[in-house]
């Protein structure tokens, strides 16, 4: 019975808490958006923008509160997650404020709604609520393993959240996609929150069932095919995501949920066959829906050949709008070039509708160029990397799966939006996490980062030092 003192767990290495590193990065992450704000003001009006100090102070206050909470309640958490999220949120605020200054968008709003209201103050409020959500997650969720108890409750909650937009009177049809509900004066996107809850269900479920899914299988053409009865869950999730696709007309949400499930299934079972099956099933579903739903059809047309479709589509139809947007977005990216036109000096406001939400990445592409797009994708990549790292370091299988599922969903969302905007895949109505205008998205993503920070705190917490051996005191070592 040998006593082994060094551990092989990644997280068990004695780690310093790294809170000061986080604070320094956080200060940097607040200064960068303030610099961007100044840049936009100088470029548009030729003078230092009056709201700069207030904006900087607000962002610094939010970041400071988040940092103090992490320092107190999650001292060993990953030092990069919070600064990266703060930076993206701050840059999103600047870009939204910059689009608020655009005379074209102001004129458009006056023409279609009769009045123009700036989006940046709202987004600032959503960010504050998001940080409050982040703080609440860290305060209430002392141990992520408690979530495991709510596996099947999470499933029900997630289904309810996903189906809420279909309830008559509650759901709202916004430009073809039924992913919104209206409560009071607010419209909420329940799908963003369902993402978190579903990740909890998937990890709880797969933790219990992974042995059955991984081991009971037949080998066929180099692939391990699971037994028919074990196919149940993946077929159910596939059916639910197809239902969302058909009834809510939202390609993005259904792709996100199905993709997240396949990622987690692969991570839990280490079987490539699930990935192959998942890809086949989503391709099949996409083809069927792409050839039937008109809403999706116009997106596919706009993706295949936006310039041709702009010429042929009848004036005023949904398809004409979709193609017009897509051409403007491609022009935006193109005119940005390598280094961009500079903040506040682009014409990405020509996209008009949803320029500050779905298409905000086009503004990055035009005003910061390829260099800026790459750096933003790297920011997202770093957040995902830290999430996966947390999953590797987590000691319990539930925490591993949850961290992996959340970062996988985040990665898929970034891929689906960035890919859609750049014309790699058909456009889907999703939002760039933290960057795009929209309350639900910002709040849900801050909660997601909160859960990741909680798991990483548990994972990186140094192992307790071994108890003093009672025998040692009584042992006398006689040295010559």
């Amino acid at each position: 019975m040998s006593v082994v003192t060094n551990t092989t767990t990644i997280g068990a290495i004695e780690a310093p808490s790294r809170r000061n590193t986080e604070l320094a990065l956080l200060a940097f992450a607040v200064v960068i958006p303030v610099f961007a704000y100044l840049n936009v003001g100088l470029a548009i009006d030729g003078e230092v923008p009056p709201g700069m100090l207030g904006y900087g102070a607000g962002l610094a206050l939010l970041a400071g509160v988040a940092h103090l909470v992490v320092r107190k309640w999650a001292p060993y958490a990953d030092p990069l997650l919070l600064p990266l999220a703060t930076l993206l949120n701050g840059m999103g605020l600047v870009l939204i404020w910059r689009l608020d200054q655009s005379p074209r968008l102001i004129a458009l709003a006056k023409r279609s709604y009769g009045a123009f209201s700036p989006s940046a103050p709202n987004q600032m409020m959503y960010s504050a609520i998001g940080i409050a959500m982040f703080v609440a997650v860290l305060l209430l969720l002392k141990d992520h393993r408690t979530l495991q108890r709510y596996t099947y409750i999470s499933m029900v909650v997630a289904l309810v959240l996903l189906l809420l937009p279909l309830v008559p009177g509650l759901g709202a049809d916004v430009f073809g996609a039924k992913i919104w509900i209206r409560v009071g004066g607010f419209s909420i996107q329940p799908g963003e929150f369902a993402k978190l809850v579903l990740a909890v269900f998937f990890s709880g479920y797969l933790m219990v069932k992974r042995d059955a899914l991984a081991l009971a299988s037949r080998r066929f053409m180099g692939l391990y095919l699971p037994r028919g009865r074990d196919l149940g869950p993946i077929l159910t999730i596939w059916a639910v995501s197809l239902l969302i696709l058909v009834f809510e007309n939202d390609l993005g949400t259904s792709l996100l949920f199905f993709g997240m499930f396949v990622i987690m299934l692969y991570v839990a079972t280490e079987r490539t066959s699930w990935v192959v099956m998942g890809l086949l099933m989503s391709a099949g579903g996409a083809v069927v829906v792409g050839s039937t739903a008109s809403h999706v059809q116009s997106r596919v047309q706009a993706w295949l050949d936006p310039f041709e479709c702009l010429k042929t589509a009848p004036e005023g139809t949904n398809m004409a709008y979709a193609c017009d947007q897509m051409t403007q977005v491609l022009m935006s990216f193109g005119s940005g070039g390598i280094l961009g036109t500079g903040l506040g000096q682009g014409n990405s406001d020509l996209i008009q509708f949803a320029a500050n939400s779905d298409f905000i990445f086009a503004t990055v592409g035009e005003e910061l160029g390829l260099a800026g797009v790459m750096v933003f994708l790297l920011f997202y990549g770093l957040i995902i990397e830290r999430g996966v790292r947390t999953a590797l370091a987590a000691r319990d299988p539930f925490g591993k799966l949850l961290a992996m599922g959340l970062s996988g969903a985040f990665a898929l969302q970034v891929f689906v939006v960035a890919g859609g905007v750049m014309g790699l895949i058909p456009l889907t109505g999703m939002t760039m996490p933290f960057l795009a205008y929209g309350g639900s998205s910002v709040i849900a993503n801050w909660a997601l980062v909160g859960v990741l920070i909680r798991i990483s705190d548990t994972a990186r917490r140094p192992a307790p030092s071994p108890a003093p051996n009672p025998d040692a005191e009584m042992t006398q070592v006689v040295r010559p």
């Binding site: 940097f28 036109t341 903040l343 800026g372 790297l378 920011f379 830290r386 192992a463």
Partner: protein, 174 residues
């Protein structure tokens, strides 16, 4: 605003963004290869001679030490948490709040052991009427060890005594 200033700002801003990425990657790098690798290596070297010395010297003393120890240790107060000190779950802690803690491979156990030597319902730890924590083997195949003795009946746990199940070692701490 002059064209030159704006160009300088534009390039400067891109440079600052990339600088942030570089700083972030440096943080990751120090997380991976920081000074801790050398620390870890040297600590291991330091630890080895001590450890082997302790192991070699301990057994003859063990019997006497074990009998005298529990009474002395209990007076220091009741344990408040259970700590996993070895095995894949190293570092996991569970607060002791009067509830029964089950250990085993079954997924509804309080501590789920991912260990080939553990049975699905391996052992349980519970407080008796006086608040003394008791460990009981639930008929496991490979047995539960308190210090170095295999458990046959429910046994009170002294503070800090290692309970070994397969490759996992747990202790009660204050």
């Amino acid at each position: 605003m002059s064209e030159l200033t704006l160009t300088v700002m534009r390039l400067g801003f891109l440079a600052v963004l990339w600088l942030f990425v570089i700083v972030a990657v440096q943080v990751i790098r120090s997380d991976l290869f920081g000074t801790r690798v050398t620390q870890r290596g040297s600590r291991r070297q330091d630890a080895r001679p001590q450890q082997s010395g302790r192991q070699a010297a301990a057994p003859p003393q063990q019997r006497g030490g074990q009998q005298a120890a529990p009474a002395g240790r209990q007076r220091r107060g009741a344990p408040t948490k259970l700590v996993v000190s070895e095995g894949t779950l190293t570092g996991t802690t569970v607060a002791l709040q009067g509830q029964t803690i089950t250990l085993g491979r079954a997924h509804d156990s309080t501590i789920v052991l991912d260990d080939d030597y553990a049975s699905s319902r391996h052992a349980r730890i519970y407080p008796d009427r006086d608040g003394q924590w008791i460990v009981e083997d639930l008929g496991s195949t490979n047995g539960t060890y308190l210090d170095r003795t295999r458990l046959t009946t429910a046994t009170p746990i002294p503070l800090g005594a290692p309970i070994r199940i397969g490759k996992t070692v747990i202790e009660l701490r204050k």
